[in-house]
């Protein structure tokens, strides 16, 4: 088995062109997944590429359309960067612990595609784009199309995620809610992110995304279209109807962290809270 530390992005892409490998950035998820007994090497069953020292992928920058977050920027760097979208900052600030945020990365979170990945909720909500590079070129995939299922993503074996790109747009209000059993290091039982805008007395933008409540993060463009165009009063009057409709797009399960009844109730409560927030324009 080959364990490779590339000297540059080009070197990494050359390696991936001929090796079907695990890609390790911070390693904070992979080292747990491949964990072995103390003193023994992690149990990797194929080649491994370590990219965390590729400084050329460490940049956070902006252009006219996007905020670009490089693949090896740590969550701590993202948290402290002035360009980081507000909701992303809030969610990142609650991922794992400060120590882990010193080396965990954003692409690592989405590439592992855990149903409980907190930053994936934000990727979906903010229409983030996953930038994949290979020797054959660049491919841009919307975050919500990139995640295919539990630990399944749309990455070809010769591709490396080099950036997560966040479209620049403004909105009037937002919400981030993480429900966990401990202040730090807790894997979410439920996480919800939402944002909205009001234009000329009507809801012009409404988006809501749920984590840890289905095999992937869930967001409904249909429901958003149904809500957009309503006045705030109309939304408030139909609050329970939309809470019910939103509860149908998720399918929480029982696991070691929580159970489906609790998750469903909490998801509905947070949805109701957000609808009221939008209705009252807070």
């Amino acid at each position: 088995m080959v364990k490779y530390i590339p000297a540059s992005k080009e070197d990494a892409l050359n390696f991936l062109a001929s090796h079907d490998a695990y890609i390790v950035a911070g390693g904070t998820d992979m080292m747990v997944l491949k964990r072995n007994a103390a003193g023994l090497l992690p149990k990797f069953d194929k080649d491994v590429l370590y990219i965390s020292n590729l400084n050329e992928l460490n940049k956070i920058y902006e252009d006219k359309e996007y905020i670009h977050i490089g693949a090896t920027a740590t969550l701590d760097e993202i948290y402290n960067h002035p360009l980081t979208p507000k909701l992303l900052k809030e969610a990142v600030g609650e991922v794992a612990s400060i120590n882990i945020r010193h080396f965990a990365t954003l692409p690592g979170n989405i590439a592992n595609a855990s149903p409980a990945g907190d930053t994936i909720v934000i990727d979906y909500l903010l229409d983030a784009i996953v930038k994949l590079e290979s020797k054959n070129g660049v491919r841009l995939v919307k975050a919500e199309n990139f995640v295919l299922g539990v630990r399944k993503v749309d990455r070809r074996s010769d591709e490396l995620i080099t950036e997560i790109m966040f479209p620049r747009f403004s909105y009037d209000g937002d919400m981030w809610y993480k429900v966990g059993s401990r202040k730090a290091d807790s894997i979410s039982k439920v996480s919800v992110a939402g944002l909205y805008s009001i234009t000329d007395g009507k809801i012009s933008k409404f988006a809501l995304a749920f984590g840890s409540t289905a095999v992937t993060v869930r967001r409904s463009h249909e429901l958003e279209k149904e809500i957009e165009g309503l006045t705030q009063k109309e939304l408030l009057d139909r609050c329970e109807e939309f809470v019910e409709k939103y509860s149908k797009i998720i399918s929480p399960i029982d696991d070691q962290r929580s159970n489906k009844e609790y998750r469903l109730m909490v998801a509905k409560n947070i949805t109701r809270k957000f609808i009221k927030q939008v209705g009252e324009g807070k």
């Binding site: 364990k3 530390i5 080292m31 747990v32 992690p42 120590n99 010193h102 290091d185």
Partner: protein
């Protein structure tokens, strides 16, 4: 096998170890630096925290490959510093260490905080310690120790 070269306790070291090896195993088994403790082995307890480039990281989740080119400080070296002396005295005075197993990680969580925020509030101290578990103290004495260290060690951070 790739050579891994990094700075360990202010000395450059070059080792022929497997890049996938956990930093904690390299420290304890190869370098015989046993101040770093392994608790949960999956990033939840913070007992294995050491400094990498001055910031606290969980050495049980850190592959040696990613340490390449960086600087690691363990308690064996950190205990020689003035900052440690202040933390040590404050932990002792406040009863911040009982069985002691979490203490190396707590010291580095504290150092990592104070290095970037010399005058933390109680809430900031609690936030900084939130990835480190202690089953003896109930945390209050550790929080007190760090707040006291920030005061008594004024100017050190």
């Amino acid at each position: 096998m790739a050579n891994i070269k990094f700075t360990l306790n202010n000395k450059v070291v070059e080792v022929d170890l497997d890049p996938s090896m956990r930093l904690i195993d390299a420290l304890r088994l190869h370098f015989k630096l046993t101040a770093t403790k392994e608790g949960c082995g999956e990033g939840s307890c913070g007992a294995c925290v050491v400094l990498m480039d001055g910031k606290g990281i969980n050495s049980c989740l850190m592959p040696l490959a990613n340490v390449n080119g960086h600087s690691i400080i363990t308690l064996e070296e950190f205990k020689k510093t003035k900052q440690f002396k202040v933390l040590e005295e404050c932990f002792a005075d406040e009863g911040g260490s009982q069985c002691g197993f979490c203490t190396p990680g707590m010291i580095f969580a504290a150092q990592s905080l104070l290095a970037s925020n010399a005058h933390p509030s109680e809430e900031e101290v609690r936030e900084a310690l939130s990835g480190n578990l202690c089953r003896c103290t109930g945390y209050q004495s550790i929080v007190n120790a760090i707040l006291r260290a920030a005061k008594e060690g004024e100017g050190l951070w």
